[in-house]
């Protein structure tokens, strides 16, 4: 399991600070929830962890993010290796313009798995793990766009798993889903934390309470408080955290 350490991470867009001097260690093999009201920098934080922040025009990033001792913010970082290790699930399910099978197999194929049998086994395994196999096993080569939104999000999860990451970053993964699909995805997270480190962004307190082992609370770009979920929810140390938990802000 990789060790993720963030030191003095600061992100600026057009002179305004989206993240200010964030320093924290993310625990392995647990679900770490990144919590906070809208616009507080949670997504920005997540996007720093797999260098997707590079794609945002005008973002200036300083500080360090160490994964297994290597600073991934250094310009010479191998992004391909990083993104294989650290996968991402976006808020709105974005399937690739291919069949269901190809969607799952594509990442692995890119990274060098070419043997057909190995790919077949991988696809079946990943689809089973997200509990999608039974629903799609008879139409593996149908276009992925035919699936419902909930199924698409599970497909995206399977796609990320096929690359064999060690960390999964999830940006409000159930906010675009109906309650039943959302619940199924949340159940998946509990299963996944046995093999992966999960970092989940959410702005709903209830979801955080259901899922979190560890909590990072952000407010206006600052990491206000962090710690074990039980402790943060029952004995918050900062008054902003208390205000958020009470529903006063956010």
């Amino acid at each position: 399991m990789p060790h993720i350490v963030v030191r003095n991470l600061t992100v600026r867009y057009d002179g305004h600070e989206a993240l200010r001097e964030v320093s924290v260690e993310i625990p392995d093999g647990q679900i770490t929830v990144v919590l906070g009201p809208s616009g507080c920098g949670k997504t920005t934080f997540l996007r720093c962890l797999n260098r997707l922040i590079d794609l945002t025009d005008g973002a200036k990033v300083t500080g360090e993010v160490l994964i297994d001792g290597e600073n991934i913010l250094a310009p010479d970082t191998d992004l391909l290796r990083l993104r294989k290790k650290v996968g991402m699930l976006a808020q709105k399910p974005q399937v690739l313009p291919m069949s269901i099978y190809e969607n799952v197999a594509f990442g692995a194929w890119l990274h060098g798995v070419r043997d057909k049998k190995a790919l077949d086994a991988l696809v079946r395994d990943c689809l089973k793990r997200v509990h999608l196999w039974d629903e799609v096993k008879d139409r593996l080569f149908a276009p992925a766009s035919q699936l419902s939104v909930g199924q698409q999000q599970r497909l995206c999860l399977a796609r990320s798993l096929a690359v064999e990451p060690e960390v999964l970053l999830c940006d409000e993964p159930t906010s675009a889903l109906d309650p039943i699909s959302a619940q199924r995805v949340e159940e998946l997270f509990f299963e996944l934390k046995e093999r992966y480190t999960l970092v989940l962004v959410t702005h709903t307190l209830r979801q955080a309470k259901r899922l979190a082992d560890y909590v990072l609370f952000f407010y206006m770009g600052e990491l206000v408080e962090h710690g074990l979920a039980q402790r943060v929810f029952s004995e918050p140390r900062d008054e902003r955290t208390r205000a958020f938990l009470a529903g006063v802000i956010g």
Binding site: D78, L80, R81, H111, G112
Partner: protein, 286 residues
């Protein structure tokens, strides 16, 4: 690890290829501009612009290309005005407020798109057939008509896009003030779309000055200025074409000068388009 390095290599290779392709294309463009400018400038003089060719332009050496410059302007302005009279109503018709969602409008749009792709020489040939049927000679009017067909689809398409960008909410606000469709179009939509509409007109005009194939047989050629709509008229592109073939270097120089003037005119129209579009956007709601 070897696999990873190979993928990084491929990335670098493809980037290099892309930059090479772009350099080749834009380099050719710049070479073209340079060559035409240099050759054209050599033959240029104030006299060239304001004098008519001396009789027998294939043989004559002095004289200029005024006939072609004036001719081109007459043809293009005439065609643009005629096209405008037809293009604006058609573009308005295509909006959802009028026929926009009917099969008729779909058909009309398809037709206009196809017309857009028709080579201008076909319009020239059709125009010629028409002239023969009417018993006329090649003349200014003939050229204007053929050129109108070239400019019309370009203008309609650009106007249609400009009109479509007017936000629906703006139109609804006008309707809820009890404006009729025509009043909404006239006072609100056209005003909001004005920069785009002007751009459309100038775009078509730019194409019109440069087109040779449609006016080749319909407008004729002459060394003089036309005195009526039924006189033949010269034009810059046709002048370049005819004069270039002459064995006399002085005449060839006129051809290069004509090409240069044409290029400058087209560039001017392009710059003017951008400036006007910016100027007219003062009252626009974004």
């Amino acid at each position: 690890m070897g696999e990873l390095t190979w993928r990084h290599c491929k990335e670098a290779l493809m980037q290099g290829t892309m930059v090479t392709a772009a350099t080749l294309l834009f380099g050719s463009l710049l070479t073209l501009l340079a060559v035409v400018t240099v050759k054209g400038w050599q033959g240029m003089s104030w006299a060239m612009l304001v004098r008519l060719p001396k009789s027998g332009s294939y043989l004559g050496g002095e004289g200029g290309i005024l006939n072609a410059i004036v001719g081109s302007l007459l043809l293009a302005v005439g065609a643009t005005l005629l096209a405008l009279c037809l293009a604006l109503p058609v573009a308005l018709l295509l909006q959802p407020d009028y026929a926009g969602r009917t099969k008729f409008a779909q058909f009309l749009r398809l037709l206009l798109n196809l017309l857009w792709g028709v080579p201008s020489i076909v319009y020239g040939a059709c125009g010629f057939a028409l002239l023969v049927a009417l018993g006329w000679r090649a003349c200014l009017l003939g050229g204007i008509i053929a050129l109108t067909f070239v400019e019309l689809p370009i203008m309609v398409r650009a106007m249609d896009e400009a009109l479509r960008m007017v936000p629906k909410a703006m139109k609804e606000a006008a309707y809820s003030l009890a404006l009729t469709r025509w009043e909404t179009m006239r006072h609100v939509v056209v005003r909001q779309a004005l920069p785009g509409l002007v751009t459309a007109v100038l775009l078509a005009f730019g194409r019109g000055i440069g087109d040779a194939a449609s006016v080749l047989f319909t407008a004729g050629y002459t060394d003089n200025l036309p005195r009526s709509l039924f006189d033949p008229v010269a034009s810059l592109p046709v002048a370049v074409f005819f004069l270039l073939n002459s064995p006399f270097a002085e005449v060839q120089r006129q051809a290069y000068a004509a090409a240069f003037v044409l290029l400058v005119l087209v560039l001017l129209v392009s710059v003017l388009t951008r400036l006007l579009a910016a100027r007219l956007s003062r009252y626009l709601v974004r």
